[in-house]
Amino acid sequence: MRLGNALQTARRAGPLLIPYLLVDRRRTSRLPAVARALRAAGAAALELGFPFSDPIADGPVLEAAGGRSLAAGTGWADLIASARATAQILPTAVMTYANPVWRHGLSHALQDLHRAGVSGLIVPDLSLEESAPWRAAGRAAEIEVVLLAAPGIEPARLRRISRASRGFLYLVSRYGTTGAGRAQGREELAALVRASHEVHPSLPVLVGFGVRDRATARAALSTGADGVVVGTALEEKLESGAREGEITRWARSLLGPGSPHVPRT
């Protein structure tokens, strides 16, 4: 199922959870079980992270995990194999930096991902200004190119990004890299969420960076966002050896009852 359609359907039932899983060839065989555990917890889609040697938007946890994954020999073929496995279970978007995709040839890489069942692409170092050829290649390959917005953005720019984004709008919660840290003030983020919903009502807005538990997820959803992306905290769970049952319980607790989310119709 296409990423955007899946999210639009799912948000009628409640807030959206998209977990981020880093591709690591040593974990490929376990991936389907983890994806099913996350689906059981109500995850609406999955982000598969393909590691990059110079991940400037990543905090220490994901940077170190990516480094270990690359050192273990993780390559593009492992991304494709991982995507084939997870796309059977949940709508799957790939998150990676611009260069690995570019190196494989924009069109070629996106077609490759599409054939593996991937329906979205998130590139944290792809600014709106550079995104046109990527969005065109995405349309041709039926891959939704998800754009990011961040605090400090001018309203006019946010509207342009929101109109151009497909699948969802990835709203970075704060100044900083992925992982620990405080989100920007609720009011600032809420205004960005409202502005995006105004110009592109069908586009879900998901908040990421710094969402790691029930409290931070609730804070993120209190901005009116449709859901959250959780990466670093899940990586830490996996590193600490959490089994599937524990992952399900933990992921379910993020968006548990009492969430302030009002379902959109």
Partner: protein, 386 residues
Amino acid sequence: MPRRFGPYGGAYVPETLVPALQELERSWHSARRDPTFRTELDRLSRTLGGRPTPLYFARNLSRRAGGAEIWLKREDLLHGGAHKFNNALGQGLLARRMGKPRLIAETGAGQHGVATAMIGAALGLETEVYMGEVDMERQRPNVERMRLLGAEVHPVRTGGRTLKDAINEALRDWIANVRTTHYLLGSAVGPHPFPSIVAEFQSVIGQEVRRQSVRAFGRLPDLAVACVGGGSNAIGTFHPLLDTDVHFLGVEAGGAGGRGPGAASLTRGRPGILHGSFSYVLQDADGQVAETESISAGLDYPGVGPEHAWLHDRGRAKYVAVRDRDALRAFHWLAEDEGILPALEPSHAIFAAVGEARRRPATDHVVVTLSGRGDKDLGVVTGAAR
């Protein structure tokens, strides 16, 4: 100001940085038209920096080459001992103009870190410098200099612990502190508008070469030679001469030789996206950026400025790689022939320039940008001799 040089350049950055890059571009547009800014830049370049730097006829080195005359553009005599002062001063003034009280910088050889620390002190701006642990070890005197100048030096322990990793950390700091901090990027790399801003502040080198060569030998040089890591001293040398017939030679670090790529992005890399711009990058088949190796920390970088990529593709400039041991030979030539200790970075350019001069008639003039002095490299050079 061009966003692209042919297909190269652009701004591939997290959205968090976009407002800061736009602010920098606006501030730069207004500053370059502002006579007060120009006057201040010019005054500090002269009185604090020591500009203009001389153009020196290296008679003995020319005799060694046995062909064209070799002239040295003495950026090693600039305050701090390298051309890095030009850009650090310019961007420092821009940071003050934007009201940013804090400077961050990356440094490889430490020359850019030292220049930023000097400017931070002179302009009253808090300064923090990111430096790879490997580079801190091999360029220790510069670490001490930065600390004495009041800068905080953060060791970078990720990746190969050299320049590329220092830039990653500086970018992460900037993402987190972008509202109060200017990232004083040290080379003509990175996202738009950095390559253009750095090139313009470094263009004072080529402007002076143009004037001084006419005064010294009655015409423009036949060839200008400069070393290329990110490429800031080279683009500063070439830029003001682009509309002339002067030939250009950029010299990259070839490393120890053998099968490794050294740090020669243009001669051994392919187009890719690193640190915010599209240019030549040393990388593997999956687009993972390669670890580089060079005896000179300042050239030890897997990318290169996007304008060089375009000059390379158009054939307007030629680029070659010089190996570690040849750079060391050139270091000793210049020391023994002219009594000048060059930094290891321009030693690469000296080696290539001697080879070029040898192939040219005695009536030709080759200008080499001597981008920095070698005091920082004495440990590496004496270690290599043992």
